[in-house]
Subunit: 391 residues, 2 copies
Amino acid sequence: MQKFIFILSLLLVTSSTLFAQQNIFAPTGPISSPIVNKDGSVTLHLQAPTATHVEVKGDWLPAGTTVPMTKNTDGVWSYTSGPLASDLYIYQFIVNGTALLDPLNVYQIRDVSSLFSIFVIEGGQGDLYQVQEVPHGTVAKRWYHSPTLDMTRRLTIYTPPGYETSNESYPVLYLLHGMGGDEEAWPTLGRTAQILDNLIATGKCKPMLVVMPNGNVAQEAAPGESSLNQTPVNFNLPHTMDGTYENSFEDIIAFIEGNYRAKANKENRAIAGLSMGGFHSLWISANYPNTFGYVGHFSGAVNPRENNDLSQGVPRIYENMDGKLAQQRDNGLILYWIAIGTDDFLYQEVKDYRAKLDSLQFPYQYVETAKGHVWSNWRLYLSQFTPLLFK
Amino acid sequence: MQKFIFILSLLLVTSSTLFAQQNIFAPTGPISSPIVNKDGSVTLHLQAPTATHVEVKGDWLPAGTTVPMTKNTDGVWSYTSGPLASDLYIYQFIVNGTALLDPLNVYQIRDVSSLFSIFVIEGGQGDLYQVQEVPHGTVAKRWYHSPTLDMTRRLTIYTPPGYETSNESYPVLYLLHGMGGDEEAWPTLGRTAQILDNLIATGKCKPMLVVMPNGNVAQEAAPGESSLNQTPVNFNLPHTMDGTYENSFEDIIAFIEGNYRAKANKENRAIAGLSMGGFHSLWISANYPNTFGYVGHFSGAVNPRENNDLSQGVPRIYENMDGKLAQQRDNGLILYWIAIGTDDFLYQEVKDYRAKLDSLQFPYQYVETAKGHVWSNWRLYLSQFTPLLFK
């Protein structure tokens, strides 16, 4: 064996910068970044000898703030946070005014039109966001036809461990993204597969299908994944909150129930969404009142308009909120779950919406957390909401 | 309708930097990058007023070279290439010595341990790498158990349009990555789903399953997707070319044929790989001589060792190349396809291997292209190889 290993090693050493994939050079060197320290703090490094001003922007810092990095004599800038709660965090460096990813960190995620470097602090909630040695579900990118929209569209679907080899049918959670998001948002920043795998493995959550559609009817699929290809990412897409998506949602349900072993009744359907996805969940569940037994609003843009009427040009789907909610209440719901952070800019809107529900004697569960309109909360809410489903 | 739209617009305008997803700010401004020009050239921009030296590194440039960008009076650096052949290209900026992604371009791909910004020049081969308005297959990330390795491992599988709704069985292409790669390499840089969707839509290629396993037995899954989570990406993984993977490959075939409607005979199995994946394809097909009717080596590390014998410590799977090839020849193969670029550092190795095949009167097809050990060639080879399969 010795000789054979020697030959292979020689081959590797002499050609290691060329061999196999096109680019084989690890960003190694005297520094690395990020470094998660034993006390739960993180140290970030950036080699930028000629920069004059380097800051860190990260979601463990107060919104809208940055912290300066300090430069050592080798031209390496560094920053160490205080101990951080266990979570997934995103950050960028701002080098002489330009926001950049950490060039030493290969792990990053797109959030709408920006890329962020990421790291996870383990030892608590963050462990749910990591891949553990547990049975894993399948994550598929699937295209379906929407007759209502006359479009072929893309969604992400999580099927739980064992789905493919069992004959069972499963309950379904429809999980909706926020404005600017798409069918990639929940699977990446939302860590849906990791959270579900980990909660199912410990028996905290029932095996279920999780359907993450694209909620922007102006696009077939996420940026880069549609026939628009690499157009700039546009936050202000048309028709995001004009009833078009809600009206076409039956196409998604029909597709899932026609193509997956999905339990097709109210007791086995849940719908939840973050921000705009909460708005969509509200109106979809209110307009299909006996379709969903479980509804979740995560920092929902619940927008409690008062009894809009068609004569003012309101789409029919947004008409008569009170009447529709009363009908939904009377039909019976298993769980109507509302969560928001105290720093969320939608806090008052959600408070007003709860007052409306109270006045209608509409039963709901309410969860209030710290922080604002951030993925840290949405991952947390997903991990809190899914254990309540389909019991 | 007017009033309703007005209310929504107001809501959007006042909260557009906060609303919905956590980060809603498009990297817009007076400049954009990349800009693909009508003549097929690309213009790149970077705002870096305090930088003193900015270069572009891109795979349309000669290997190992960079080109300087020029700075205008506003502190914006720019570069325009000459007209480029239609293809997908990767690039980075090197700002005062530090390699960075283009902060104005949200589209990027990881290659081993480096991230690159990307763009596509349309109007030719590059069109195959874009999403077109054609029926789309499904891309799934699936975990399987390997009894031989006693590991649960991850693979990517492409199922063609219509797979889920037909009762047909399909032929299977096993498509292997190179050293440092993983089950994410072919679906991202390799554009497998786009190439297959587009070739199937025009009838140039038969509908088939494409299985893209992780070929590193030292890891369960791609970086960030295994229980190792965000460890640094390690190019020099152990056991990549010591026979362990080849020996366990039957587990992958058994999983696919046990869990998908796969045609389970030699006429409907193909195996191909790039670089190290070519080495794997060679030895897997030679050691399972009546299993694969089609074999492809894309810039293969074919490594024609002469009749290694076990007494010198060679793993049994690498023993007796000539005898195994002769057996493979006698059993009959439908296609043995070899492609390499004239600038590839493995060019001579492949030439020696062809000489061996010639001496054995082993039939094969040989394709020689320009360029070297690059994804541009591997995408091209995939688009040339798949139309030859299962006819």
